[in-house]
Amino acid sequence: MNVESPLFAEQFEAMKPSLPGGDASWRQMAFDRFAALGLPSRKREAWRHTSLSALKGDLTGQPLDMEGITSALENQKIVGALHLVFVGGHFVPELSSALDGVDGLTLRTLGSSVEDEDALVDQIVLNGGENPDEALVALNGALVSDGAVIKLADGAQMKQPIQLIYAGNPTGLVNIRNIISLGKGATATLVEIAQDATATNGWLNIVNQIDVEDGARLDHLRVMADGADANHISQSRVSLAADARYESFALLSGGALARHEVQAVFTGTGGHCGLSGIGLGAGKAVRDVITHIDHALPDCTSAQIFKNVMDDHASSVFQGKVTVQQDAQRTDAIQSNHNILLARTATANSKPELVIFADDVKCAHGATVGELDANQLFYMRTRGLDEATARQLLVEGFIADVFDVIEDPALRDYVRAHASAWLGVS
């Protein structure tokens, strides 16, 4: 590394003034940390399949043409949800719901909060230590333009989903940071969607910091359905207190690169962490899922199910790590990753990793890679379905059970519609 001129140093200086809290020391701290770490190379296991080499260009990107964005947004909005729309990485109130008026919910944007809240600022410069895998979190902190700050009071039961919609991202790099905290016993549903949101060769870098207090529950859905040549990287850091529950579902169906990373840690006993997702890829797409659930305390459960369908030269990655610390007795952790390759040239990389230090635990994992079953295809064809339809139905059937983890039928349909769009099923 060139100490005199770290990667992006000039661009950081140039971009700072236009970012909220522009000259704040925390931005500099975050950037210094990024500069020290550098972009993770593909020699790092967690980044082995994600190439960041294309990121080394211009981070600022071209100005946007707002035409067409507004109408596309209307189709993405979930009826009855609270909508927060971010265009080009900036909250747009005219396109969004009112942020106040829901009991127990404090909803703000990061851009309007950073100047006056030290606690928030502390959170942005995450203490990631010297781990080079954290570099993009640091870069996100240095260049963050906006995000949602969602806080539910103790006992608040949010019936309306909160939906974050990303749109109109230019070429270059857009950094969004969402900070979500659920008070004791609170429940909420968070939906993020980036559908045709990012310009060709553009990068969207999202960091979610999620804090689920005692007995609270967060359902978190992410739809990564960006345009064919876009890159979407997301990292969710989840902390689960006693008896807290976090249920996450991610659809990775768009973009040249869709990367979904979740790191969850139990900070109390009796919690549950459910991570699930579906990766769909064609062309040369990469669908990269990295999870780490840290069973630091006893009597917690986790369940993971990820399925991928890759066509052409697409490749999927599942690196699922579960750590069961020495004290974490009576942990129950299951994990599965199943893959179907529609072409001989497609690839599935599956790497379950269980690190267990306790002795009274139940841990199971399973991984499979296969093709569509010739017997099934033949059977369907003898019922009059042409081969393409039969293949679509089988793929749909293969991923169908993953959607079942989404309890709300309307949200399940919403997410499934995006998968069906990819599959070409009407």
Binding site: D373, A374, N375, Q376, F378, Y379, M380, R381, T382, R383, G384, L385, D386, E387, T389, A390, L393, L394, E396, G397, F398, I399, A400, D401
Partner: protein, 250 residues
């Protein structure tokens, strides 16, 4: 309806069918019986168009067309129905959706409008009443976790909804208890008609008590060695295939 002329077929390089001739006309019910390994299922698979079954000689004409030149789905859309000995499980594929797609595939080929959800349900209700079955099976994934009998019933439901011209039923009676056998047989009998033909492939005579065939053919070692009326099936039941030089283990 169907004219099979001197077909020879190999599976994995092994000659299984060694010159089969069969003519099936509308309104007829044929039973093909034979010991294990005679080539009964191979004949069914050849007619349905499964990959890996190579016809090396002979021809099959179905409703005036070269059947062997048609893709499996084209055969199905044109009214050839294969009832399987072991129906395949389709995890995650909803039974109702699958059945409607199958019905509409056939309807499209016949120049009929596709049925929407409501119209399909009406048709289904009528058919299920005729079959004296309920549609509980259709709310699940196709054949997944079904008992042997349920799988066979599901085949009969598909057959009734697709309304085929020619039905090839491979060991449809295997694995059925007596009540299920009656129900399935009733479903087959409902399909009989002047413009329809049924070919039942079976090891045992049992099914033929309920679905009376017009012709019985005995298949041994890839050839028909005998043909006759229903009485031939009764004779086979009594005497086995010994008369044809076959000695089956009990």
């Amino acid at each position: 309806m169907l004219e099979i002329k001197n077909i020879h077929a190999t599976v994995g390089g092994n000659a299984i069918l060694k010159g089969i001739n069969l003519t099936v006309n509308g309104g007829e019910v044929h039973a093909i019986m034979g010991p294990n390994g005679a080539g009964k299922s191979t004949l069914g698979n050849v007619l349905a168009g499964r990959d890996g079954y190579d016809v090396t000689a002979g021809s099959v004409t179905y409703r005036g067309q070269d059947l062997l030149d048609m893709a499996p789905d084209a055969r199905a859309r044109d009214g050839l129905f294969m009832g399987f000995q072991y129906p395949v499980e389709l995890p995650g594929v909803n039974g109702m959706t699958f059945l409607r797609m199958a019905a509409n595939a056939v309807r499209g080929h016949r120049g009929l409008e596709p049925l929407d959800g409501m119209d399909f349900l009406k048709l289904l209700k009528t058919k299920m009443a005729e079959l004296e079955m309920d549609d509980a099976l259709l709310k699940r994934s196709v054949n997944v976790g079904f008992s042997g009998g349920e799988k066979k019933r599901n085949e009969i439901i598909q057959m009734a909804i697709m309304d085929p011209h020619l039905m090839i039923l491979d060991e449809t009676d295997s694995g059925l208890d007596i009540d299920a056998l009656k129900l399935v047989s009733q479903g087959i009998n409902l399909m009989r008609g002047e413009d329809k033909a049924i070919v039942m492939i079976t090891h045992y005579q049992r099914l033929l008590d309920y679905v009376k065939p017009d012709f019985v053919h005995v298949l041994v070692d890839g050839r028909f060695v005998d043909s006759g009326g229903p009485e031939l099936a009764l004779k086979l039941e009594r005497e086995g295939y010994a008369a044809y030089g076959v000695h089956e283990a009990a």
